[in-house]
C-alpha cells in the first residue's frame, strides 16, 4: 500500500465560484492543474507525493456543478453532487433506483457525504503497485508490477488487460452505463456530450488514463434520459468488507419485461477490467427470452467467455458468472 509520507507538497490553490472561471483555469494551467472535488482520491495522491500538481482547482464553490435537476424526460446531476445526495434524492430513488442503490454502496457514510459523483466516476485505479509510486506502465514506465507470478493481484483484471491489469473502481459507473446516461464534458473545444460507456477507456487507448478527460477538460454533469426510468433494476457489489471497501466485482442491470419476457436489457459488470464492461452479447441473447434458471445460467457462461485470470484472481470468474445469473433472476423478470 501507499505510504503517507509527510505533508502535502506546496501548490497554488484556486477556488473559482463559477464554471466559467473553473474552465478558464483548466485552460490556463492544463496538465499542471488538478481538479479537486470531494478531495478523497486527490489528497491521498498529494500526501503520497506521487501526484504533484502545481495548481489545484477546488470545484467545491462552483454552484453550476452541483445539484439534481429535471432535464427533458430525465434528470441531470451536477458532477460535484455528493454521493449521499445522489443516494437519497427522491427523483433518483423513485425513477432511477439503480443509481441510488449503487451510490449508497460506495465506501462509508462519511465518504459519501464528502465524495462526489463526478469524483467517483473519474477516480483513478486502486492498483497498489501504481498507487505505491512504482514506475509501472500506468505511471509512465514500462513494467506492470501487478502481473507477475508473485504479485498480489486478486483485485485485478479479467478482461481487456493490455500491459496494465488495473481495474476501474467506480460503483456508480456501471449503474450509469446501464441507465444509458450521457456525460457532459466542457473544455477548450466547448461542450461535448458522450455516452457513459464511452467515457471510460482501456490501456490500449491510453495506458496513463482511465477516462477520456483531457487535462483541460471537466466533467460537469451527468444526464440520465427517461428511457429506463422505472425498469427492473439490479445492483450488487461484492467486496471483502461490507463496511467499507472497493468492489471485487459489481453488476448493474436494467430490464424491461412484459409477461415474463425480457424485451430490453442493459447489463454492466465492473471491477473486472480497466473500464466497466457492458455485456452486449448477454443482452442480445436475453432479449425475447423468459428469465428462467436455464437462461440465466447460459447468460452467466456467456458473460465470462474470454476472461483471463491472473495468478490470484481466478475466483472472479465464477463470481462474475453467478452475479450475472443473480441479476437476471433477481429482477423478477
Amino acid at each position: 500500500m501507499a505510504v503517507i509520507r509527510d505533508t502535502i507538497p506546496a501548490f497554488e490553490l484556486f477556488q473559482p465560484t463559477s464554471l466559467e472561471d473553473a474552465l478558464a483555469l483548466k485552460r490556463r494551467y492544463g496538465k499542471a492543474s488538478w481538479a479537486l472535488a470531494g478531495g478523497l482520491d486527490s489528497l491521498d495522491w498529494f500526501k503520497d507525493r506521487i501526484k504533484r500538481p502545481d495548481v489545484v482547482i477546488d470545484l467545491g464553490g462552483v454552484p453550476e456543478l452541483t445539484g439534481v435537476r429535471a432535464s427533458g424526460d430525465g434528470i441531470e446531476i451536477g458532477a460535484t453532487t455528493t454521493l449521499s445526495e445522489v443516494a437519497s434524492n427522491s427523483d433518483i430513488v423513485s425513477r432511477f433506483g439503480l443509481l441510488a442503490d449503487a451510490a449508497s454502496k460506495v465506501a462509508t457514510p462519511q465518504i459519501r457525504n464528502q465524495g462526489t459523483i463526478g469524483g467517483n466516476l473519474a477516480q483513478d485505479t486502486r492498483c497498489w503497485y501504481y498507487r505505491g509510486g512504482w514506475p509501472c506502465y500506468r505511471a509512465g514506465g514500462n513494467i506492470c508490477y501487478a502481473d507477475t507470478p508473485t504479485s498480489i493481484n486478486r483485485e485485478h483484471a479479467l478482461f481487456e488487460a493490455n500491459r496494465c491489469v488495473a481495474v476501474n473502481p467506480s460503483d456508480t459507473a456501471p449503474a450509469l452505463i446501464a441507465l444509458d446516461a450521457k456525460f457532459v464534458i466542457m473544455g477548450t473545444s466547448g461542450e461535448k456530450v458522450i455516452d457513459a460507456e464511452d467515457f471510460f477507456i482501456t490501456p490500449a487507448t491510453d495506458i496513463t488514463r482511465m477516462t477520456v478527460l483531457n487535462p483541460g477538460e471537466l466533467l460537469t454533469s451527468i444526464r440520465i434520459p427517461g428511457t429506463w426510468a422505472g425498469a427492473d433494476f439490479y445492483f450488487e457489489k461484492v467486496r471483502d468488507r461490507q463496511s467499507w471497501d472497493f468492489a471485487l466485482v459489481n453488476i448493474a442491470s436494467a430490464i424491461k419485461s412484459s409477461g415474463g419476457t425480457i424485451e430490453d436489457i442493459r447489463m454492466v459488470v465492473s471491477a473486472v477490467g480497466p473500464r466497466p464492461l457492458r455485456l452486449t452479447d448477454v443482452e442480445r441473447q436475453l432479449k425475447g427470452q423468459t428469465a428462467s434458471d436455464d437462461v440465466a445460467a447460459a447468460a452467466g457462461e456467456l458473460a465470462v467467455l474470454g476472461a483471463r485470470a491472473l495468478q490470484h484472481n481466478g475466483y472472479k470468474i465464477p463470481l462474475m458468472r453467478n452475479l450475472v445469473k443473480r441479476a437476471i433472476r433477481g429482477t423478477g423478470a
Binding site: N142, I143, T148, R163, P203
Partner: protein
C-alpha cells in the same frame, strides 16, 4: 530536451525506460529542415529535366527496362503501408490523438516482419543483392555525388548502376532501423496478448526491457525522418520516373540510358517489351 527517460525501480536502481519523446519531434524537425534545405538548394540549382543519355548505349536494350519485379513492388508497397500504419499507431497517441492502437500496431508489425523476411529470401534467391548494398568502391561515387550536390563538382561523370549511391545508403539506414524495430518489436509482443505469444512480461529484467524500448524508440523515430525525406524525393518531378517505376515496374529505354550506366546495370537478361 532529454534523450532518454529514466525511472527508479522498486529496488532503488535507476533504470532506462524509453527514449524521450522529444526525439520524435527532433526527428520531424530534422526531416523538415532537410526538405526545406533541399528545396532551397534545388531552387538555386535547377536540375536539367532529363540528363543526357549515356554514350555507352548498348544495342538490344528494349523500350521498357524492368527495374522492379512484381514481387519487389509488392514488397515495397506492403512494407510502406505497414510502416505508415506503425508510425501512425505508434506516434499519434504520443502526440495526443487517442484510439485503440495496440492491436493494430502489432498486427502491422507482423506484416512488416513477414514482408521483410520475404524480401530477404527474394533478394538472396532471385535478385542481385549486391546492387543495393554499399561497398568500399562506392566512396568515389558518393564523393562525386556530394560534390555535385554542393555545387562544386559539376556534372556527375560516372552514372550509377541499378541504384544510385544515395539510394543504397538510404536502404542501409532503413534496413538498420527496420531490424531495430523488428527484433525489439517481436520481443515487446510477449508483453501483450496476441496471436503468436503467450503473455510473459518477465521474459527480461526491467533494465533489459528498458534497452529494448530504447532501441525500438530510436529506430522508430529514425524512421520518421527517413520516411519524410523518402516521400519528399518520391514526389519531386525529377525523381518521379523512379516512383512510377515502383508502380509499373519498368523504366523507359531513354530513362535507363539517361540515369544509369549500362555497363554497371546490364539489362539484357531481365528486360521485357
Amino acid at each position: 530536451m532529454s534523450l532518454f527517460q529514466w525511472e527508479q525501480n522498486p529496488w532503488g536502481q535507476e533504470i532506462l525506460v524509453r527514449i524521450s519523446w522529444d526525439l520524435l519531434y527532433l526527428s520531424i524537425l530534422g526531416g523538415a529542415l532537410f526538405i526545406i534545405g533541399h528545396l532551397i538548394y534545388r531552387a538555386k540549382n535547377p536540375t536539367p529535366a532529363s540528363p543526357e543519355p549515356s554514350g555507352k548505349a548498348a544495342p538490344g536494350v528494349p523500350e521498357r527496362v524492368v527495374r522492379h519485379s512484381l514481387a519487389a513492388r509488392l514488397f515495397h508497397w506492403i512494407m510502406a503501408a505497414s510502416v505508415l500504419v506503425l508510425l501512425g499507431t505508434g506516434f499519434f497517441p504520443v502526440m495526443g490523438i487517442q484510439f485503440d492502437w495496440v492491436e493494430i500496431h502489432w498486427i502491422a508489425g507482423l506484416v512488416l516482419v513477414a514482408s521483410i523476411v520475404f524480401h530477404i529470401i527474394h533478394a538472396l534467391g532471385w535478385m542481385n543483392w549486391r546492387d543495393i548494398w554499399i561497398s568500399g568502391k562506392d566512396w568515389a561515387e558518393w564523393k562525386a555525388e556530394m560534390q555535385h550536390v554542393m555545387g562544386k563538382g559539376g556534372a556527375i561523370e560516372k552514372k550509377p548502376g541499378k541504384y544510385p549511391v544515395d539510394h543504397r545508403i538510404f536502404h542501409s539506414m532503413i534496413a538498420l532501423a527496420a531490424f531495430g524495430v523488428m527484433i525489439t518489436g517481436l520481443l515487446m509482443m510477449v508483453r501483450v496478448d496476441n496471436a503468436l505469444f503467450a503473455r510473459n512480461p518477465y521474459l527480461l529484467e526491467d533494465s533489459s526491457w528498458g534497452w529494448v524500448y530504447v532501441i525500438h524508440g530510436l529506430s522508430a523515430v529514425g524512421f520518421v525522418g527517413m520516411i519524410m525525406t523518402h516521400i519528399y524525393f518520391a514526389v519531386l518531378p525529377e525523381k518521379r520516373w523512379m516512383t512510377i517505376s515502383m508502380i509499373w515496374g519498368w523504366v523507359t529505354k531513354k530513362e535507363y540510358l539517361a540515369h544509369h550506366d549500362p555497363e554497371r546495370w546490364v539489362v539484357s537478361k531481365e528486360t521485357t517489351d
